[in-house]
């Protein structure tokens, strides 16, 4: 008897499992077709010499790790990695500072900010503009004889137009600034969601104990916000590593000046444009490894301090 009931029980489980799998099927099919197969074939093709010379297709010929060797032995890839990071940090630091500040203000019940909804929408708006259009706009604004230079020269601040896009510092800063503008609203909303999840009685208790606003922020808000904060950091890092559209459009795909705004993905795009699939496959794999290592490191570093007093 006992065996029979057990059997019936387990068959019920199997029956429900079946539905689980069926409901998962669409995801698995889509994932397999658009993610897994391309992913595996990218790795596979990275071991081949496979490009087009004029109208002739060269390869695919198996060449082992030759693509990786030629990529890694060339200093260029490290330079593009550095470019990518510098521009990401230039955008991320102001982004996280402003977002934290805004989120703290929005979530602080004692401030009773008016028109919160309006501002939340407004700061989000830049993200709704296509990055390409945004970059095009900045390209025009900061052109050598564009409106910004015209204002600076006519108001006597500059004697002659400053070539924003021909100087490494200003070109990178522009990319950073645009990424900041586009993403700080999004980050604010994420952080705000995290802060609103914090129990309000903790703040009240702290206030009763006489804590200052700064103390409340650093000792209550930040520690409890950590999971969301880590999420923001890692997604932004991955997004930063994949930075492409803004610098691509702003510098017309050239990464000017002196290839100092050339990001890793722009480099990848150059290879793809000449249909050099082997080399771009290898570059994608390297990118995957870099992203993996960095995400792991950030995750470890930020969650290790979980056991605070």
């Amino acid at each position: 008897m006992e065996g029979a009931s057990k059997k019936r029980g387990s068959s019920n489980v199997v029956k429900y499992n079946k539905w689980g799998y069926i409901f998962l099927l669409p995801f698995i099919i889509v994932y397999g077709t658009f993610q897994l197969i391309p992913f595996v074939s990218t790795i596979y093709y990275s071991f081949f010499e496979n490009y087009r010379s004029g109208l002739k297709q060269i390869g695919p010929n198996f060449i082992g790790l030759e693509n990786y060797h030629s990529l890694l032995s060339n200093a260029d890839i490290w330079k593009y990695t550095e470019n990518t990071f510098v521009m990401w940090i230039l955008g991320f630091i102001p982004q996280i500072v402003i977002s934290l500040l805004l989120a703290a203000w929005f979530s602080d019940p004692s401030l009773r900010l008016k028109g919160q909804r309006f501002f939340k929408t407004v700061i989000y708006l830049p993200n709704l503009i296509m990055a390409a259009a945004f970059a095009m706009l900045f390209f025009t604004l900061f052109a050598d004889s564009g409106p910004i230079n015209a204002m600076l020269t006519s108001s006597g601040i500059l004697a002659e137009p400053y070539k924003f896009l021909a100087n490494t510092g200003s070109a990178r800063a522009l990319v950073g600034f645009m990424n900041f503008l586009m993403w700080f609203g999004n980050t604010t909303i994420l952080l705000l969601a995290g802060m609103m999840g914090i129990d309000i009685s903790l703040y009240e208790a702290a206030e009763v104990d006489g804590a200052t606003a700064g103390e409340i922020f650093w000792r209550i808000t930040m520690p409890l916000l950590r999971p969301i904060f880590v999420f923001v950091l890692i997604t932004s890092l991955i997004g930063g590593l994949q930075m492409f559209d803004v610098p691509q459009i702003l510098t017309n795909g050239k990464g000017a000046p002196d290839r100092t705004t050339m990001t890793l993905i722009m480099f990848l795009n150059n290879h793809l444009f000449s249909k050099n699939y082997g080399m771009s496959g290898a570059l994608s794999v390297i990118l995957l490894i870099i992203t993996g290592i960095l995400s792991f490191a950030v995750y470890k570093f930020t969650t290790n301090q979980e056991n605070y007093g």
Partner: protein, 493 residues
């Protein structure tokens, strides 16, 4: 209720982020195909179309087509030919020429037209970053197997990369013999326009209606003020070679003018007068005359006698107006007529204050060649379009009158040059045709290579950093090699 609205708004915002995130991540992958995506959907893979059955033996298609082309039926398409004529190009130019001048062409909408019963489909893919060439590379080699309505019938090429398609093995552009065009048909054309599209075995595989010899286009008012004359022959004395040109630049600078809008203006003048091609075998080489461009240009930029703008940008365009303070541009007839804002009130062109002289060295710029694609199912129509657009004197004359192109017909240009009543309004009544005709005779196209477009584009980009003082010359050359290596992995230096 209010809360609901807020939450819906937030949710919408979050969803949008998700999508935005997707867009960003997918952008690099999507970029290449998007840029290559043709304006119409005719690039559909060959195997998708059921019509493929009708041509059980695609390989036989081309020879069969030749037989059809042979009969002396050169006015209309043969009845048994394809119903769709596909034309690949990179801008509107040829489309507007055909629309305006090809007898019997009817415009349907922006990317389609009709010639008799045949539908004409235009596919426009921009040139930049090799997008147009990559698109051709994808479709031409398999053109013979494509479904009848998808077959490319005509594609256009520029001199910068014409050889790549002319010398392709197996051929992708039909030879004049295959099309049934004889030497006598095209006797009245400039030799250089034929040299560019003649393959290694001497077969001609394309035709052009333009002879794009070019010159120095100067601002008459500035010439009068600084040089004391506005007559083309006298101004020529001030720009007759590069040393004199540089000296004149100093005088112009003192008067507050830039000698040219950008260093990239003079690039083609130097690059047309090279003594060796960009690529020898698979080795990239930099010609002394290109090095001279770098040297001269660096001096001009350092002296603030010109700028480093990219051609076609808003900064570069400023000189089309008196406030731009630019003395001269280098360019052919089409630049004067289409690109210099002649229709805009207040521009120099609108006031008719440009002049044209030869400049330091003869050169040409641009020009479009019409090629019949191997595998076409409309060979007799292709032949007729090529002949009508490039040899029919009445059509060429119309093109001169309506579009002011410098056409590929020495005899017509001679007539125009002799016509004292003719004068270009933009050039202040000057008749430029004698000079353009002389220039076309002098163009020497023996040093072109398959890789010219990518090399020219990358070289100018790389040198900009040097002119701006951001890197030294060696570093700029190295950046050039890197960029070319990305475009053409098989090349070395």
């Amino acid at each position: 209720m209010k809360k609901k609205i807020v939450s819906i708004m937030l949710t919408a915002a979050m969803t949008a982020t998700l999508l935005a995130g997707c867009g960003q991540a997918a952008a690099p992958a999507a970029e290449a195909p998007a840029a290559e995506a043709p304006a119409t959907e005719e690039a559909a893979p060959a195997d998708e179309a059921p019509a493929a059955e009708e041509e059980a033996a695609p390989a036989d298609e081309a020879p069969a087509a030749e037989e059809e082309a042979a009969p002396a039926d050169d006015t209309a398409a043969a009845a048994d030919e394809g119903s769709v004529l596909n034309i690949q190009c990179w801008n509107e130019e040829f489309k507007s020429r055909v629309t305006d001048h090809y007898p019997g062409y009817e415009k349907v909408d922006d990317t389609t037209g009709k010639i008799g019963d045949v539908t004409v489909k235009w596919t426009i893919t921009p040139t930049e970053g090799n997008a147009y060439q990559n698109h051709l590379d994808d479709i031409l080699p398999t053109n013979a197997e494509a479904a009848a309505d998808d077959k490319v019938d005509i594609f256009l090429v520029e001199a910068d990369y014409a050889l790549k398609y002319i010398n392709a093995d197996p051929a992708v552009a039909m030879s004049m013999d295959d099309l049934g065009i004889t030497d006598a048909d095209i006797a009245d054309q400039y030799q250089y326009t034929k040299d560019i599209v003649t393959d290694a075995n001497g077969a001609l595989r394309g035709l052009s209606w333009q002879a794009c010899s070019a010159g120095l286009i100067y601002n008459r008012d500035v010439a009068k003020e600084v040089l004391g004359t506005e007559e083309p022959d006298e101004v020529q004395e001030f720009v007759k070679d590069w040393d004199t040109f540089t000296k004149t630049a100093e005088d112009l600078k003192k008067a507050g003018y830039y000698v040219e809008s950008s260093v990239n203006d003079s690039y083609r003048v130097y690059s047309n007068n090279v003594s060796k091609p960009w690529v020898d075998g698979t080795t990239i080489q930099i010609d002394p005359n290109i090095e001279k461009w770098v040297e001269d240009s660096k001096a001009l930029v350092d002296a603030k006698e010109t700028n480093t703008f990219e051609l076609w940008g808003d900064d570069w365009n400023k000189g089309f107006y008196p406030e731009g303070k630019v003395f001269a541009y280098f360019g052919p007839a089409w630049l004067i007529n289409f690109c210099m804002a002649a229709d805009t009130e207040g521009s120099i062109a609108n006031a008719g204050r440009w002049g044209l002289c030869v400049g330091p060295q003869s050169f040409y710029w641009g020009g479009t060649w019409i090629c019949g694609a191997v595998g076409t199912d409309n060979p007799s129509l292709v032949k007729d379009i090529m002949l009508t657009m490039t040899t029919d004197k009445a059509v060429l004359k119309e093109i001169v009158e309506k579009d002011s192109d410098c056409v590929n017909s020495p005899s017509l240009l001679a007539e125009l040059a002799a016509d004292t009543s003719f004068g270009s309004e933009i050039l202040g009544g000057q008749n430029p045709y004698q000079q353009l005709a002389d220039g076309a005779e002098k163009v020497d196209m023996s040093n072109i290579s398959d890789y010219d477009q990518g090399c020219n584009e990358s070289f100018q980009t790389a040198m900009k950093d040097y002119f701006e003082g951001k890197v030294d010359y060696d570093k700029a050359v190295e950046n050039f090699y890197t960029a070319v290596g990305e475009k053409y992995p098989e090349l070395s230096h």
